[in-house]
Amino acid sequence: MKLLWLAVCAAAALAQTKTPLQTPEDVARGRRLFESQCTGCHGQTAEGGRGPNLRQARLRRVTDDASLFDVIQDGIPGTEMPGMWYLSEREVRQVAGYLRDIARTPVAAVSGDAAHGRELFEGKGGCLSCHIAAGRGVAAGPDLSDIGARRSVAHLRESLTAPAATTPEGFLLVDAVASGRPVSGVRVNEDTFTIQIRDAAGRFHSFRKSSLSSLKRRVGESSMPSYSGKLAAAEIDDLVAYLAGLRGEP
């Protein structure tokens, strides 16, 4: 067994029935599968974490039973969502049944004032100096244009108050020293022989790793400052409300 993603394609093409299984036994089994394999990203109660909140009536990538089945089985290419290719067709339908079941009891909406959150985002918070949202800003940190669709409210709040706890993939900070000259920034690419770094000013640097006198990987660090002392609790609520509403292009 070598290339699992092709197994996924094969299994997907063979799947005939994609309707969620919703007897109490199926939902319970779906919940157990979810809790063992999905909670790392979607949270213990499916209210989201690194992955989106699934306790909502409408999911961005799901238009019908078939697409719900496909997302669970195949994942979403180009995102962090992996496929659960190794579940049987029945097990995928049981997980789908659990998700349909919990969608009936959505979590409470965020309480903050999104309009005020936007003012903070663009003004006092200074967020646009590092992030792009809806086409405006600077691309030093992650693009936030659809962050509300991809991250839970709890995760957004944590990113503001304790950003180092969840550094996003693709934003590893590195410190390199080349010919006595230090270069720090985000590692944008790397192979066995070379590394590419984007510094805070947005400039790209490319090095052969053998030419560097030092290369430090700041695993678990983030260049994002914590806002817990900088903004009042109510202001953070407002900012979270604004971010939760950023859903990208319709």
């Binding site: 067994m1 070598k2 094969a10 290719w85 097990e91 192979d191 022989f193």
Partner: protein
């Protein structure tokens, strides 16, 4: 028109006969690459010496060939200036000087064909006499005229509707063409087949899972042997002196849920010594009894002379997917020596007979069990290399752990029959390496670290080099003695194939596929 005439004459002799004896003595004609591993012994070693640690930094691209489809795993065969390249259900003979097509042959892939558990790939042809042999995804073995690509015969090996496909290159021995199958994740029953090289008639079949009444069937609970897998999807090796073929077998079915198949599950995750003339099983050695981690033993067996406890023995050396390096007596299958060569957390070690001492609680579970190596193994199908000059065994290693899951498994012919799977650790916790092991002991002599676990094999050369590839597209040369990197080229696509070397007009080339392009380099 003197130049044109000269080229025409060299093309006229391009499909010179390749009798069996030429392949046996492949070392005598280092300009050619006559069989999958370069020689029958599985060495993937080129006796060419033109490229050396001193001049390899000057390597440049000579030509590039582009395939229509993605991800190419082919090992080309080179005969007297002609190279045979494959992609799924396609063979092309190309001019080894320029990469220009001389002929090509295709066979349509059925629209309903599924590759269950592996990619749509082909790893190359075999040559014998005036014929080029290739296996197809729809499980035919096809014989093509080496001069024109015209079909001599096509024989059905298995039913693709059951999930049986051919991805491996055939092995052509004395008058026979040997082939194995893929399809272990569809619960097919594995076999190795041989066909008469001239007529295409089946000469023998060796089932890798015994049936009722045969020895070994007692290692399968109930009827579980019927969907026992043990597929044979990588080309084996051959000892012309003894007439024995050595061929590895894959995982038992279902892969990750062993509940319904208690027992050792012979002859899965094993190497089989097969009499080439009769197809009779001479001996077997099982590396991973009752495997639940998908650790196929399909790595190319490397046949060498090694000194074991002071005595020179004819051995089969292999670095297995399960993380251990083994030396077996190749006449008897006796376990001679074992050593761990990569991180593994599933066994305390090997006992005196080479059986793993399994740590309880390392099997897949509903909640996930973290084990090294991952299901892709400490190494995989891509080839190791052995240099008779350095006496080192070179292997590309995957340092990667994963959470193994067990799920339900219900067998239906032609459907996915996995019973589980894995979730890998984050990318920055995974890495790879090329390791040079002392062939006699398996002890680490040197290591070259790779950013990611490798999908590319290695080749060593008499010039003192080891070539390899990376998942990020680096094709590179290392010093065979010490592992120092000496040259590197970014191909622009992941490398999931094995290097070869050949020469035309006295000039040495090295070649590697990367994604859908095939690169040839020379000074």
């Amino acid at each position: 028109m003197k130049i044109v005439f000269a080229a025409a004459t060299s093309l006229a002799v391009l499909a010179a006969q390749v009798p069996y004896e030429r392949i046996v003595r492949a070392a005598a004609e280092p300009q050619n690459w006559l069989t999958y591993s370069g020689n029958y012994l599985g060495h993937r070693f080129s006796p060419l010496k033109q490229l050396t640690p001193e001049n390899v930094s000057r390597l440049k691209v000579a030509w590039v060939y582009q395939f229509e489809l993605g991800r190419t795993e082919v090992t080309p065969i080179v005969v007297d200036g002609v190279m045979y390249l494959t992609s799924p259900n396609r063979v092309a003979a190309v001019d080894a000087r320029t990469g220009r097509d001389l002929w090509s042959w295709t066979r349509p892939v059925p629209r309903d064909l599924q590759t269950i558990g592996f990619g749509r790939v082909n790893r190359g042809v075999a040559v014998l006499g005036d014929i080029v042999y290739v296996g197809t995804l729809d499980a035919y073995l096809v014989a093509l005229d080496a001069r024109s690509g015209a079909v001599r015969w096509q024989t059905k090996v298995g039913d693709y509707k059951l999930g049986i496909c051919i991805t491996a290159a055939p092995l052509a021995v004395n008058g026979k063409v040997v082939i194995g199958i893929a399809g272990g994740e569809a619960g097919v029953r594995g076999f190795v087949d041989a066909y008469d090289a001239q007529s295409g008639k089946q000469a023998w079949r060796l089932w890798t899972v015994p049936t009722l009444g045969e020895p070994g069937v007692e290692t399968w609970a109930g009827e579980s042997w019927r969907s026992g897998a043990g597929t044979t999807w990588v080309t084996g090796s051959y000892d012309p002196d003894s007439g024995l073929i050595y061929w590895g077998t894959g995982n038992p079915g279902p892969d990750w849920n062993g509940d319904a198949r208690s027992g050792d599950n012979l002859y899965t995750c094993s190497v089989l010594a097969i009499d080439a003339a009769t197809g009779k099983l001479k001996w077997h050695f099982q590396f991973t009894p009752h495997d639940t981690h998908d650790w196929d033993a399909t790595q190319v067996p490397v046949l060498v002379d090694a000194v074991v406890r002071g005595k020179t023995r004819k051995v089969l050396a292999t670095a297995n997917r399960n993380g251990f390096y083994y030396l077996l007596d190749r006449a008897s299958g006796e376990f001679l020596h074992g050593a761990q060569y990569a991180k593994q957390t599933w066994a305390k070690g090997l006992d005196d007979r080479g059986r793993p001492i399994v740590i309880p609680g390392t099997e897949p579970s509903e909640g996930g069990t973290l084990v090294w190596p991952s299901l892709q193994g400490a190494t995989n199908w891509f080839s190791p290399s052995y240099s008779p000059l350095t006496r080192m065994f070179y292997v590309a290693v995957r340092e990667m752990g994963a959470y193994y899951y067990k799920t339900e498994a219900k067998f239906e012919p032609g459907r996915w029959f996995g019973g589980g799977g894995e979730r890998r650790l984050p990318d920055d916790q995974l890495w790879g390496a090329v390791r040079a092991l002392d062939v006699h002991t398996g002890k680490l002599r040197w290591e070259f670290k790779l950013k990611s676990p490798s999908w590319a094999g290695v080749m060593s050369t008499a010039g003192g080099l080891v070539f390899g590839g990376s998942d990020e597209g680096n094709f590179y040369a290392l010093d065979a003695a010490g592992g120092k990197p000496l040259w590197e080229f970014q191909t622009g696509g992941p490398i999931a194939a094995n290097p070869i070397s050949y020469a035309v007009d006295g000039k040495q080339y090295v070649a590697i596929p990367a994604e859908r392009a095939f690169f040839v380099f020379g000074l």
